[in-house]
Structure formats: C-alpha cells, structure tokens
C-alpha cells in the first residue's frame, strides 16, 4: 500500500578499517527510542507510580548508559561505523534528477556519535538520579521527568542522526524540551518569558539550519551526512556553489543552540529552569549540539567552506572572551555558570572553526563533566539555602563539605589547572589556534582563561568561604544528590588524561582515535606532543586569574562583600546589562514587532483591505439603493403607478355617469343611437 523501502545499511567504506559493530551497534535505535517510551509511559501512568515517574526515566537512562558504555568500549577497541536509514518520505525530484529526493530516519554509530551517546547517557543518568532528590516535593514531578525523557530522546535522535533531516527533528525536539523545562515553573511570568525567549532565539537560528539544509540537500541529491562529507572530502562539484553559504547557514543554526554571540541571550535566562535541567541541557549536552553539528559536518568546513572560518572564528572568539566577562558581575550563581558555559562554548566553537575537530570535541567532553558538576553543586547549594544569589550564601564549606569539595574540583578543572581535565582540553584548543596561525585569537583565548579562573575563584569564594549571609541552617544534600557530584568529580579530574598529546593507552588508544573513527577522514590538526610553552602561558593565565580573584574576594567577610558591591561606573552597568544586547533585541526588534508593527498590519487589515471590501459592498448597496430608489421606484414604477392612478382618477369621474336613473340611461342610449345614425348618414 504505502511504499516502505528497506532500511539502508552502510558498512564502513573507503578503506577505513572499522567494524560494523555487533549486536549493540545494530540495535542502537533502541537507545534512541527508549526515552520516548519512558516519556509516554510517564505521561500515562507517572502519577500513579511511587517515584512519580522518576524511576521510569532513570531506568531508561540506565539502560542507555549500559548500551552506550558497551559501544564506547567496543569503539575504543576496534572502531565502529554503522549507518542505518529508513525512508520516511519520497518527496519528488525537483526536476533535477530522475530519483526522488528522500527523507530518512535512522541512526549512525561511529566514533563521534558514540562519544555523544555516552556523554548524554552518563551525564543524563547522573542528573536524573540527582533530580530525583532535588525535585522531591516539587510541583509536577511526573511531567518534569517526562520532559527530561523527551529531552534525552530528542538529544539521542539528534546525535544519532545520519542525515540533516533527522538532525533538525532532534534539534527542535531538544529545543521543545528546553522550552518546557525552562518554563517548568510557569506560574511566574519571568520563567515563561525565559522559556519563550529560549525557543524564539533558537527558532531564529534554526532558520539558518533549515536554509542550510535546503541549500545542501538538493545540490547533493541527498541529506545524508555521509554523502555530504564524502562530497566535501572529494571537493565535489555539486557543492561548489553552496559550500560556503550553506556552511555559514548551518553555523548560524549552531550559533543559536550553542549560544554564540550574538545569539547567546537566551542561555543566561534559561537558568529559570530547575537546576538539574541547567546542568544537563544548558551546560553538558544540549548546548553542545551546535558544536556537534560543526563536528559532524567537519569535512565541509575543513575542505570546502574554509572561507566561512573568517566569520566563524571571530564570532567564537568574541563569545569566549567578551561574554566571559559577564560572569564577573552576576550575583546569581547559576548565571555565573551560564556565562561561563557561553564562554566555554566559544572555546569549543573556536577550536572547531579553526580546524581542531578533536580539540573542540575533547573540550566538549571534559566540559560536560565539570560543568554538569558545577551546576549540580550549585543546585545542591540552592537546595540548601533556597536562593540563587551568592549574596545569600557564603561560608557553606563547613556545612556542605561534599558539595564544596566537588565544586572546587569542578572549578579548578574549569579554570584549567594541570592536571585536571579542563587543562588538557583547553591546552589543545590553544595549540590548535596557534598551529593554524591564528596567533591573535590564541592570545585572546589565553586571556579568556584568565577571566575564567578569575570569575570561578570569585564564585567559590563568595559561595563557600567567608561567613554565611543567608537565613536558616543549610545542610548537606542527601546522598542521591551528592552521589552524582562525586561521580562527576572523577571524570572532571581524570578525563583529560585520555588525550594527552602523544600518549596512547594501550589497546584502548586515546580520545583522538575514538572520535576519529569516522567514515571520512577528518584531516584535522592535532598536536603530537605537549607544547610546554603554550601550557605554561595557559597555566600562568589561570594562576593569575585565581590569584586576582583570591586577592579581591578573599574570604574576609567584610571586604569580600564590599568588593563585590563595588560598582565601577560605566563598566559595571555595561556588564550587568550584558552589553545591552538584550535591550537591543527587545526594544529594537521584538517589542516593535509585537506592538506597533503587528498593530499596523492589523490596522491595514481592518482599515485598508477590509475597507476596500466593505466599501465595495457598501458601494454596491448604495448603487442598489440608487437603482431601486431613483430608477426602479421613481422611474419604471412611476409610469406604472401613473397609469394606475390615471385609470383610477378617470374611473372616479366616469362613474358619476352611473346615476341609477333609468330614464337618463335611456336618453343617453337614444342620443347615442341618433348620433350613430347621423354618423352613418354622413359617412355614407
């Protein structure tokens, strides 16, 4: 009846010595679907369960974690490549080919997607677990876990996408989940505002993604990444005209999801959602989707759309440097972390844009751990003090030791202190920038490391050191929350070791090899040995940042608070307002469209177009009145009425003859007869 074409299975090609994986690779689609099953199940029966649906979400995520871990190990050992697609639509030929273009759904299992599967499953599992404790007694818990599952499923669909179409589906799916979760407390307008803002900003960026897809797909005759990358690697003519523009459009899409300047505005506001959401989506996974997209289509930028870098790289560097400063003035701990995330995403994007495929992904990898850790730590604190603001915190080191120490681990890792994970990944980015000849950007990135260290020191100091400024007696969070903190602290420390330049860990190789298991060679730069001079610069910058932070915000209660309250003219308002970008958007674009422009259109509708229509109607009616009144009633009818009236009048006169007098009648009769006779005589 309806044609269902058989799943297309691609094995590794082009001499890449990859296995097609075993059972777990062939059935990876189960991993993609499981969270959706959990989503539906929670909606239907979540309320009636003891854990309010959390157990379903956590269970699904646990299975996924096992699945992804098996794939991860398999990929370490032998390298896997498998791509499966099911045609969901044949849409026509556009008159350019004999073959129908088609849309497909499926999954791809290769080094890149396995890394992402695992990060999503690992961080996801821990965050779900944490959320089970964090959300206890909160509103709409089943719905919360359903949305989280929806997110996890969409994210897996996104990273498992073998083609741009499925990527878009997952892409907007995570956007939807983000909208739902940011607005979880939708009773308060600022929260729903933040949710709408996140959705809308991403929707703007999605225009780029969609148009990029539209540019590339028909040119290629296929929406598959494998076809795109292959064509790019071969410098195929079919991509000739569209590579740069198409690449930039895809990048524009990535800018939204990965919060690059100037589309970063939604991410700080997204902190309105519950903290586990911020940790999972707005730090570890969802916001890295843009980086992932750049990595997935890396050969396009590496081989053909190299000109696009001239735009991509500056944006990424502005993001990493300029937006990092915003973390300096935020009082909301989560906003500090959010700006930090924006800045770190800038690092990743800079790496990928500069040609550092592995470097960008490696930072994505390590960042997922320590930033999720930091957010969960912040959540633990917020849970204890019931406030997001650091001015209500301070001195929590004693009462929340586990949270404190894990938070410090995360912060130090983020700051890039050797030998923690953040150091290694940031160092690789610096090395890539330097090697590719972007010396200026490299130095800016080093300065960015200084800023990072500075604001993290401030955050740690204001939150955990000094004296407690809030009310009540904060306690350490329950094990269900501290457990994930510890679990995340471990990779935050050791993850960097998997990609020390030049080091290979026996049979499992290193991170570069893992994510390099792709069907098309990436051809990116990767340092072969540690560049000690760059490492030194990075460390010096981090150390200086920490020192300055310590100097300014030392745990001396009086000066600490006073310093933080210091409002440097011009600079403070500028940073506090986020360089007025939000104001520009709201006052310059959104409000005019929502207000005057929309009203103007509505006015045009009512007063111009409709007036023409109504006018034609009224005019016709008026003409009708004229025709009826003047012509019909006073014209044609006049004649008729006059005839009738005249007849009536004449009758009125003539009837007087009817006197009823027989003799008069007879006389008339006689006279008439006489007249006839006379007439007869005359005629004859």
């Amino acid at each position: 009846m309806v044609n269902v074409s058989l799943p297309l299975v691609l094995a590794a090609t082009d001499g890449a010595e990859l296995s097609s994986g075993g059972f777990f690779a062939a059935t990876a689609w189960i991993m993609l679907l499981l969270p959706f099953v959990a989503f539906l199940a929670i909606i239907l029966v979540g309320k009636r369960l003891k854990g309010l649906g959390a157990e379903l979400a956590i269970g699904a995520m646990g299975i996924n974690l096992v699945w992804a871990s098996v794939l991860l190990v398999q990929n370490m050992l032998e390298g896997i490549y498998r791509e499966v697609g099911l045609t969901i639509a044949e849409i026509g030929t556009l008159g350019i080919t004999d073959q129908n273009l088609s849309f497909e759904l499926g999954f791809v299992v290769d080094g890149l997607s396995i890394m992402m599967y695992w990060v999503v499953a690992f961080v996801g599992f821990l965050v779900f677990l944490y959320a089970h404790g964090y959300m206890k007694g909160d509103v709409r818990v089943p719905w919360f876990f359903a949305s989280l599952s929806l997110f996890a499923g969409s994210m897996l669909v996104l990273v498992g996408a073998p083609n741009l179409i499925q990527l878009i589906i997952g892409w907007e799916g995570v956007g939807l989940a983000s909208y739902l979760l940011i607005g979880h407390y939708w009773e308060h307008k600022p929260n729903s505002d933040a949710a709408v803002k996140a959705f809308m900003t991403n929707k703007v960026a999605d225009v780029g993604l969609i148009l990029g897809t539209i540019l590339i797909g028909p040119s290629l005759g296929s929406f598959r990444f494998s076809a795109l990358n292959q064509a790019a690697a071969n410098h195929s003519e079919s991509l000739e005209g569209v590579a740069v523009v198409g690449g930039l459009l895809l990048f524009f899409g990535a800018m939204g999801k990965s919060a690059q300047f100037p589309l970063h505005v939604w991410l700080p506001d997204a902190m309105a959602g519950p903290t586990p959401v911020s940790a999972l989506m707005h730090a570890a996974t969802m916001v890295t989707a843009g980086i992932y997209l750049m990595a997935r289509t890396f050969p396009l930028y590496q081989e053909m759309a190299t000109d696009a870098r001239a735009i991509m790289l500056p944006i990424a560097v502005i993001t990493l440097f300029v937006l990092g400063f915003l973390a300096l003035v935020a009082d909301d701990l989560k906003r500090v972390l959010a700006f930090s995330t924006v800045s770190q995403l800038g690092y990743m994007m800079a790496a990928v844009a500069a040609g550092g495929y592995t470097a960008g992904l490696f930072h994505l990898f390590t960042h997922a751990f320590f930033k999720a850790l930091l957010f969960l730590g912040a959540g633990s604190v917020i849970h204890a003090v019931h406030s997001n603001n650091m001015s209500d915190m301070g001195g929590l080191r004693k009462s929340m030791p586990v949270t404190f120490w894990t938070f410090v681990v995360g912060a130090v890792s983020l700051a890039g202190v050797i030998p923690l994970a953040g150091f290694w990944s940031k160092d690789e980015i610096l090395a890539t920038l330097g090697h590719e000849g972007y010396t200026l950007f490299m130095w800016v990135a080093i300065l960015g490391a200084f800023v990072t260290a500075f604001y993290m020191t401030r955050a740690v100091s204001l939150t955990f050191l000094g004296t407690y400024k809030g009310t009540g007696h904060p306690h350490e969070s329950p094990p269900v929350m501290t457990g994930p903190l510890v679990a995340l602290a471990i990779p935050s420390v050791v993850a960097g070791l998997f990609n020390i330049p030049g080091v290979t860990w026996g049979p499992i190789g290193n991170f570069t090899e893992w994510v390099g298991h792709r069907v098309v060679p990436m051809g990116d730069y990767h340092p072969k040995s540690i560049e000690w001079d760059l490492a030194a610069y990075g460390l010096i910058a981090a150390g200086a940042g920490i020192l300055l932070g310590w100097r300014l915000f030392a745990p001396d209660a009086a000066t600490q608070t006073a310093r933080d309250r210091l409002r440097i003219p011009v600079l403070y308002p500028l940073l506090h307002k986020g360089y007025y970008i939000d104001d520009l958007y709201m006052k310059g674009v959104v409000n005019p469209i929502k207000g005057p422009v929309a009203r103007a259109v509505d006015w045009v509708n009512a007063y111009v177009i409709d007036t023409v229509i109504n006018g034609v109607g009224a005019l016709t009616a008026r003409i009708g009145e004229l025709v009826y009144g003047r012509f019909d009633q006073q014209g044609i009818d006049l004649v008729l009425n006059a005839t009738a009236g005249g007849t009536g009048w004449a009758g009125g006169r003539l009837r007087l003859l009817q006197s009823g007098k027989v003799r008069q009648y007879a006389a008339g009769f006689v006279v008439g007869a006489l007249l006839l006779v006379i007439a007869l005589v005359i005629v004859i």
């Binding site: 009837r655 007087l656 009817q658 006197s659 009823g660 007098k661 027989v662 003799r663 007879a666 006389a667 006689v670």
Partner: protein, 101 residues
C-alpha cells in the same frame, strides 16, 4: 309605395315608443313603450321581408325571435317591477336609483 307606408308606420310607432320611454315615470308604461319599439322593429322586418320576397324568410324568422325575446323580457321586467312595487309601494322609476355609484 307600399313599403314606404310600412316604414312610416314603423317609424311613428318607434318614435312614440321612444317618447314614452323618455317621458314616462311609471315602470309599466316604460315597459309598454319598449314593447311598442319592438313592435315597430317587427313591422320593419316583416315589411322588408315581404318587399324583397326572399325564399329564406329571414325577416319573419327574426320577427318571431324578437317577439319571443320581448315576451321573455316583459316576463322578467314585470316580475322585477312587481317585486319592487311590493317592497316600495311605488312604480316610479326615478326612485329606483339603487344601482348608482
């Protein structure tokens, strides 16, 4: 000139009838006058018939028709007059103007 004599007679009788019709008020008299006029016409019909002496005898046939109609007319007329007289106790035609406008 036999025909002329008959025509003169008819004309005289008709004129008398007309005069009676116009001058009398009594309904019966008027009816009589009408009969007189009809008789005059009959004389004319018969006279012309005899004068032209046609085989078809049209004049006589018409005369008989006229007599028949006259009889019927007088019958109805007298009946009406009788009823009017019963209702109004008067035969004066001038009082009978019920049929006016």
């Amino acid at each position: 000139m036999v025909l002329t004599q008959f025509l003169v007679l008819g004309a005289l009788m008709f004129s008398i009838g007309v005069f009676g019709l116009l001058s009398r008020r009594n309904a019966v008299t008027i009816l009589l006058s009408v009969e007189l006029m009809l008789a005059a016409v009959n004389i004319n019909l018969v006279a012309f018939e005899a004068f032209w002496n046609t085989a078809a005898a049209h004049g006589q046939i018409f005369a008989i028709f006229v007599i028949t109609i006259a009889a019927a007319e007088v019958g109805i007329g007298l009946a009406i007059i009788l009823l009017v007289f019963r209702n109004r106790a008067s035969g004066n035609i001038d009082e009978l103007d019920l049929m006016r406008w």
